[in-house]
Amino acid sequence: MAKVNPVELSGSHQTTFRLPLIINSEKRFGQDITTKSHTKDGEVSFHLPEISDEDIKKISVTPDVHELSIKEIIDFYVKVGKLWGSRNYDLRKDAVLLAERNSGYSSEMIEHAYDHIAGIFSKQFISQTIKSEIQDEAFLDDWLKVDSIYVHAQPRGKVLHVLAGNAPPISAISMLRGSLTKNSNIIKMASGDLVTSVYLASSFLDVDQDHPITKTTSVVYWPHGSLVEEKLIHEANAICVWGGKEVIESTKAKTKPGTELLEFGPRRSMQFIGREAFESKNVLSSVTDKAAHDLVLFDQEACHSPQLAFVEGKGNAEKFCDSLSVSLVEESKRLPKGFSRGDRHAAISHERILAKFYGEKVYESEKTEWTIILSDKVQRTQRHPLGRVLYVFEIPDLKDAIHHIDKSVQTVAVFPEKRIVELRDDITKRGADRVTIIGRMGYFATGAPHEGIYPLSRLVRWVKSR
């Protein structure tokens, strides 16, 4: 097996790293661009080369992988997933070290994210995804008779993935979607996660350096506003853009008509806790353990992270907060909070003292690891400091929380699961895209649509023939 370390790691105190661009499996280093990350050990610099005209030329003539069968594609990713499933895989070990310095997440959080990536690359997840989104994987390989015509799913060509740095699994899911639809992938790393995509694409070389997916995957970076951005957006036949409002609007504005654009973010999420959670202490602690996990995952930076919780029944909100405080202490040991700059801590501290001045009850860790604010002012949660801060509101009935949902809400997690049926229509009519169970807010369910669409079906051209 060819072992290809993308980066030289010379010790745990290293503060300068060189990261490559990968152009159709070939790595190129350089120092044209420097990005800086703030970590618990101080400032860390990452040097990367600028994308050259030659790189863009190579990318522009990259073919799709239409000739591969879907089975070959699945087999390839399953092999990648098996490598990443081992915490002793060399590339994964290096990626964890580096990602901690780049993203600021704790190593435990990154390991958790990489375990999740291994799950995304499992045969079960991939097969179920194709089945849900395309119905029959044979559409991807062949022409299937539908009534009187034959239908086939052709790749669009080149998919540009403009990634966000808030959740490492984004890299995996986005590139997997590009490949399952037999497109070639151009992956634009986020400055907050310069590591995961480079290491995933490097592990392709460990699986098969001559594989068409390896040979048609490029991982690139450009600073915001670079001229390269427009050139590569122009080259793409489809774009998956993840992240904040600014990046989505900027990418949209530069996308030419006819290019398929899939937007993921920015959104926020909520938890609905029914009165059934208070039937016994055991039930409540089980619910709050799961609620705590949803809250701490990616330090609340993701769209699926809960920012508000609505608790049903008089007197129950305090019980929920008490129990959640205990759960958060434990969950924070398992998945410690990453590094935050002073201004992020300040924003949390500011919210805490504001809440106390309002006379609201604040449950808090000694420093700023986690915060629960028992409030009655939903309006002010629009300005949310993130960083594991949950606003909790008591309501007489879960239905009373529905009017707080709008299109900015991505996920609503409900306890107990049986209450989902009574609420899901109203929740989704108001604009939310996903109703799930407590504890699973951060995980891509097999077969689930994403942000209101089936992405695979959008990354192919549905063609027909007599």
Binding site: R341, H345, A346, S349, H350, Y358, T368, R383, L386
Partner: protein, 369 residues
């Protein structure tokens, strides 16, 4: 009748150059007294301090000033009852600062005593630190702007006795005509001529004069005053470069170019001295808290969450935590003045962006069209 220590301090002959130990003694006296007053007369503040187990008896030394519980500025927006320490009938003026994150403005209420003291204090800062006593002031802003940037300076100019006819506003109807501005400044007969505005508007004039190889020769006593809006020019024009270019086209010494820190929550502006340091007068105190644990202060010179405290406002507990980050050092400046020097570093991410900066962005986008 309270015998206010702060009134004595305000009338001190040399409040900006007294020995450091004396500054500390005064600060301790005036802040202990005002904290006691608010604790006793503002029930909302009393309840809040009790929650943190802080009471007047806990303030026993200068370093204990950091124990005074700060009020988040946003609290002055949403409370059903006003946050005041004097009878509502005594309120003579309410100042608002607007917000981009809430439709409700933040309200600060002033009684006559607080207002008079604040005006007097600001006059001392402007005449004794900034050196602005008379002349003509050109605002590079609209007249009717309700930002603290404009309203604060208007109020300060009134306190130093500058007649209204000695003030002009060079932005009208969203228009900023650089040539007309240059003409107005050049033709003004009243001396010295001063200019006040956000840095990015200064840069419009500078770029025009540089491109046309022109200069406006201002006066030896002129002050070119900036405030807010540094974000717009930072990165493009570092401060040193800004001073160099402005001094060249206006024919002034770099020491005549002064930035001001507008603190609307405590009704003041902190002007720079001739060495470009922002001095904190002894009747104010800036406490720098640990962003992770606001009950603790950070070591001197370290970045933290700023609490702006005024001992001369009795109408509300003016111990305001705005979400601003910065550093404070304490000592004697090259200019000979003593006490705290503040370096403002911006706003905490997530804290509501209030006031001038955002409003200036809107203003900027208008005049760039």
């Amino acid at each position: 009748m309270v015998d206010w220590e702060c009134d004595k301090l305000l009338r001190n002959k040399a409040p900006f150059s007294m020995p450091l130990e004396q500054v500390k003694e005064w600060r301790f006296k005036v802040f202990k007294q005002i904290f006691e007053f608010h604790y006793k007369h503002c029930p909302l503040y009393t309840r809040y301090c009790d929650l943190y187990h802080v009471a007047p008896d806990d303030i026993r030394s200068y370093s204990d000033l950091n124990k005074i519980q700060p009020v988040p500025s946003d609290a002055f927006r949403d409370m059903d009852a006003p946050i005041i320490s004097v009878p509502a009938a005594n309120i003579v003026f309410k100042s608002t600062t607007s917000s981009t994150t809430s439709p409700k403005p933040v309200w600060f209420s002033m009684d006559k005593i607080s207002m008079d003291r604040t005006n007097f204090a600001n006059r001392r800062s402007f005449t004794e630190i900034l050196g602005l006593k008379d002349g003509f002031v050109f605002f590079l802003t609209p007249k009717d702007s309700d930002t603290g940037l404009v309203k604060g300076m208007q109020a300060t100019l009134r306190t130093i006795g500058l007649p209204p006819e000695n003030v002009d506003y060079l932005v009208a109807g969203g228009e900023f005509d650089v040539e007309q501005v240059i003409q107005k400044i050049s033709n003004c007969k009243t001396r010295p001529r001063h200019i006040y505005g956000p840095p990015f508007v200064f840069m419009r004039i500078v770029e025009y004069l540089e491109a046309n190889n022109k200069q406006i020769k201002l006066d030896p006593e002129s002050r070119l005053m900036t405030t807010g809006g540094w974000k717009r020019v930072q990165g493009e024009v570092p401060r040193e470069n800004f001073i160099e270019r402005v001094s060249k086209v206006f024919g002034v010494d770099g020491s005549q170019i002064r930035d001001n820190l507008g603190l609307t929550d405590i009704f003041t502006m902190l002007p720079e001295c001739e060495y470009h340091k922002k001095h904190v007068p002894p009747w104010f105190y800036i406490s720098v808290r640990n962003p992770e644990k606001t009950s603790e202060d950070v070591a001197e010179g370290e970045t933290g969450l700023l609490v702006y405290m005024s001992s001369i406002i009795q109408s509300y507990p003016a111990f305001c935590m705005t979400g601003d980050m910065g550093k404070v050092t304490e000592g004697t400046c090259e200019c000979g003045r003593t006490g705290q020097i503040i370096q403002h570093m911006g706003r905490a991410q997530g804290a509501g962006a209030r006031g001038c900066a955002i409003r200036l962005e809107e203003f900027m986008s208008k005049i760039q069209k």
